[in-house]
């Protein structure tokens, strides 16, 4: 390599890049993003329906479109006619998740807060409480677990194998996979962006030469492309989280026989 006097070595980004220092008294940048995101969602819906009219304005049209999408494409499809009752929760969840995910590609924020496991975990636990509560309320405590673990139409000999698997997957693994899917999608995406941009910066500024400038420019360009791709993934994962929540609630509401 021509200019191999690279004084410092390149440190590839890792989990340590997700730890932010405190700004003041235990208040860090991810917390700031959560507060801003919550305010953004709240203000958007407040101003959208403040002067709700029969002929909607631009903002009201956007909010109604969003709400209608959750109602028609998520709740009605995954839960059915009873889904209307759960649209407020699902719409709030989707708006909150979109804002927190998309903060990963907004300039100056540039950190998807949902890559910290606490937030998806808490939201997944809310979903867990809702679908278990709804299932127990609808089918009774015994009926809920009986329908879950001993579905009809299955040979009796399979039950010893099926019952523990069904119980574990419904009660234990659903919230865990819900949490991990969102967390590590955001984590891995942010890591890729860090690698492209920091690697490109290192190649351009510290390596140089024909190879360094070419590879650095390609790396930065790839980082820009990946940023747009990451935006798409962030929207998709917010949708997936809400869709799965709706599917779980729908599953708890219906008898399988």
């Amino acid at each position: 390599m021509l200019a191999a006097e690279a004084s410092e070595e390149f440190h590839s980004p890792g989990p340590a890049d997700f730890e932010y220092p405190q700004i003041i008294g235990g208040f860090s940048k991810p917390m700031l993003i959560i507060v801003l995101g919550t305010l953004a969602v709240a203000l958007f819906f407040y101003f959208a329906v403040r002067r709700a009219g029969i002929v909607p304005g631009k903002l009201q049209f956007a909010a109604e479109g969003f709400y209608g999408f959750v109602r028609n494409s998520i709740a009605a499809d995954a839960i059915g006619r009873e889904g209307i009752k759960y649209v407020p929760y699902l719409a709030t969840l989707l708006a909150f998740l979109i804002v927190l995910n998309i903060s990963g590609i907004i300039p100056f924020l540039q950190f998807p807060v949902t890559s910290r496991i606490a937030i998806p975990l808490f939201l997944a636990l809310i979903t867990w409480v809702i679908y278990n509560y709804v299932g127990i309320k609808r089918q009774g405590f015994g009926g809920y677990f009986k329908n879950m673990m001993f579905p009809s139409g299955v040979p009796v000999a399979i039950y010893p194998l099926l019952a523990p698997i069904e119980f574990l997957s419904t009660v234990v693994f659903r919230p865990i996979t819900l949490t991990l899917r969102l967390t590590f999608n955001m984590f891995a995406g942010h890591l890729v962006l860090l690698l492209c941009i920091l690697g490109g910066e290192f190649l351009l500024l510290h390596v140089g030469g024909l190879i360094g400038y070419t590879a650095g420019a390609v790396s930065i360009l790839f980082g820009v492309v990946m940023t747009f791709f990451e935006g798409f993934i962030q929207l998709l994962q917010a949708y997936v989280f809400v869709l799965l929540s709706a599917v779980y609630i729908g599953g708890a509401l219906t008898h399988e026989h």
Binding site: S12, P15, S73, D77, A78, T177, L180, R181, T183, F184, N185, F187, A188, L236, Y239, V240, L243, L244, V247
Partner: protein, 67 residues
């Protein structure tokens, strides 16, 4: 060379979900090509299947960093 062998393992582990997601979207594209008006119905199912298959890859990357 520095780095963790975990990441090599994760790369191997990601083959399975990769094939699974490929099969799901292949079936989705086939379905839409044969019956374009079924697109809206198939889309939700395809994304649901994608999310379930992808959970494996995502658990893999979590364990690769954690272990």
């Amino acid at each position: 060379m520095e780095g963790s062998l975990n990441m090599v393992g994760y790369g191997l582990a990601a083959i399975g979900p990769g094939i699974g997601i490929g099969l799901i979207f292949a079936a989705y594209i086939n379905g839409v090509a044969r019956q374009p008006e079924a697109r809206s119905v198939l889309q939700g199912i395809a994304i649901l299947g994608f999310a379930l298959a992808e959970a494996l890859a995502v658990i893999g990357i979590g364990l690769a960093f954690a272990l």
